[in-house]
Symmetry: none
Subunit: 193 residues, 4 copies
């Protein structure tokens, strides 16, 4: 077996890892499965990423950059003259409508941080960046709330299999953006469904 000169190998391993998580979930991520997917020898994966944690961190970081680009490319999020609630709802819709394995993949990697300390900093950074971006259109507290809503609705769609309704999402984002109602927190129904 010839020793291949392959300067991109590290990157290709990360790409393969992401494809593996997309196809089989994090539980299916192993040095072996990645090596097979990337068509490199097993030893090559352990050489570039001594532990699976290292590989997962690289994969999560890369997946995060993908999402960040999607967000950045929606000019509306930073343009003060657009409807932020609508923009967020559209963004989420686009993301959820995209390659479903891609969505599950990124979300699964993100959620994996819950029990894998090595991933926490990357996941936290991801959340922080998005919050900071939204904070340019509103205040920090509201931005944080918007992110929470975004994640929560995403979870609902992915877990219950319910269809994503953009109008509903826009409405919820708008409520959060509207700020606290002065006298309406006793639970009265609050508008159109």
């Amino acid at each position: 077996m010839p020793r291949r000169y392959d300067p991109e190998r590290r990157q290709r391993i990360v790409d393969a890892a992401i494809r593996v998580v997309g196809a089989k979930g994090i539980a299916g991520l192993s040095h072996r499965s990645v090596a097979a997917e990337a068509d490199v020898p097993l030893g090559s994966t352990t050489y570039h990423f001594a532990t699976l944690d290292e590989l997962m961190v690289a994969a999560l970081r890369q997946a995060g950059e993908g999402f960040a680009e999607a967000v950045a490319s929606r000019g509306g999020l930073t343009d003060p003259d657009t409807d932020l609630a609508a923009d967020l709802a559209a963004l989420l819709g686009e993301w959820l409508a995209g390659d479903p394995t891609g969505v599950e993949l990124e979300y699964e990697l993100y959620l994996a941080a819950l029990r894998r300390p090595a991933l926490r900093p990357v996941a936290a950074e991801w959340s922080r960046d998005l919050t900071a971006l939204l904070a340019r259109r509103t205040d920090t507290v509201t931005a944080r709330a918007l992110v929470a809503v975004l994640y929560g609705m995403c979870l609902q769609v992915l877990l219950t299999g319910a269809a994503y309704e953009e109008r509903y999402a826009r409405d919820v984002f708008a409520r959060v953006l509207a700020g606290p109602a002065r006298a309406a927190s006793r639970g009265e129904p609050a508008g159109e469904a």
Copy 2:
């Protein structure tokens, strides 16, 4: 080795499974680890739960019942004269302040449904029950939004390690309950946290 008469064995296996997930995460759940934790023979776990999926369904169901009880025991949620936003914020605070492995455990089991079809019905049911409960105080759409916010904020706390701020949470719940502002969705800051 005497055959033990142990009518509670099935239940004890489920309890052990929950402890194992709490201690080592779902990735650490195996017939063996559960058998050791429950102090029953290995064969006993495979006898009562032929596959790990079956065992995880039982564990998730049981964990969900625990949460449902916590919810139900907060009378406020169904009493039309209380401040629902405050009640929800308090509930979340109480849950997050409890045994941290318990919280992570339940959330991890819940999120596992993302990639394990067998768990989806249980997780969906969990979400549906909570929504239905809240719908008794507001409309269905708002209830669903409240649940999304609840999950999203929970995620933020667990993943970023940020401290839970009950006042902030109550404010966000209140905004969602208040309904859409007539003219405020252009992103203007919306008040204190």
Copy 3:
């Protein structure tokens, strides 16, 4: 591949482990090498001995029993009317003259206890038993010294490759048995070589 019913399997694995250590040294002992030598599936070795330490303890214990039998079968050691020094020298000579891999094997297992805590109790017991046996012919202190000399001379032969000289060994044992010379510890040569 038929599941074999093999009630002696555990014993055969230990036997194989001893042969492996004899042939390749402790460094060559692995679940795999033992499984191959014993002609059992790999999983069978890990089933009966969950860790290599467990297997090594069993092997050391068995090797020790072999040596103990050799010692016990030399009636002279317990018969008060024989020449103990000569008996010990003969025993050592016999042992060293035997299957050389057997000698190295037992010694190597014994010495492995130096760095493997799990083996220490077994090795200590081995030494204690031999000391106790010899103490029946002399006092405890002398018995302990005899054992030290035995081990030390054994080491010399094995490590330097020097031939074993029974006469020399008997002489040294005799000196230890003779007890402290009243005035002879200034280093004067002490008799025939």
Copy 4:
């Protein structure tokens, strides 16, 4: 990565190897572990020591020199007017009282020669030098016996965890130095320790 000019590198690698053996045992010695401990590139260790055997020989030689110095620095061993038995007992006591990992390390390296032919000449030389030194105070046979006793008692202490008793050791050395008792080899107890 700059090519470092590091004329002491070879020496530093040997030092690191000794530290590794001290910390993790011979089983933990690898090109990688040594490279990490010495803070040099992996390739550097294989460059200076093509095989692990070469590295172990260098380490054993160096460890032996350390012991030889300790011996030489005890003037008493060569001064014909001192109590040789007491000197040996004190030397052994000092050595055993020193850094325990150092003692285990040197002994482990020494014993490794049992199964590694490459180490045998170095170990044999070590033993020969000590014997030659002691032979200046007594005859060759007695010197060899003293060395055997020294090694044997050392082994007893290290393996059984028994405390070292200098008085006992001195007594045994004295017996060996005293030479064969004329009529005392029938096993009668031979005095207090």
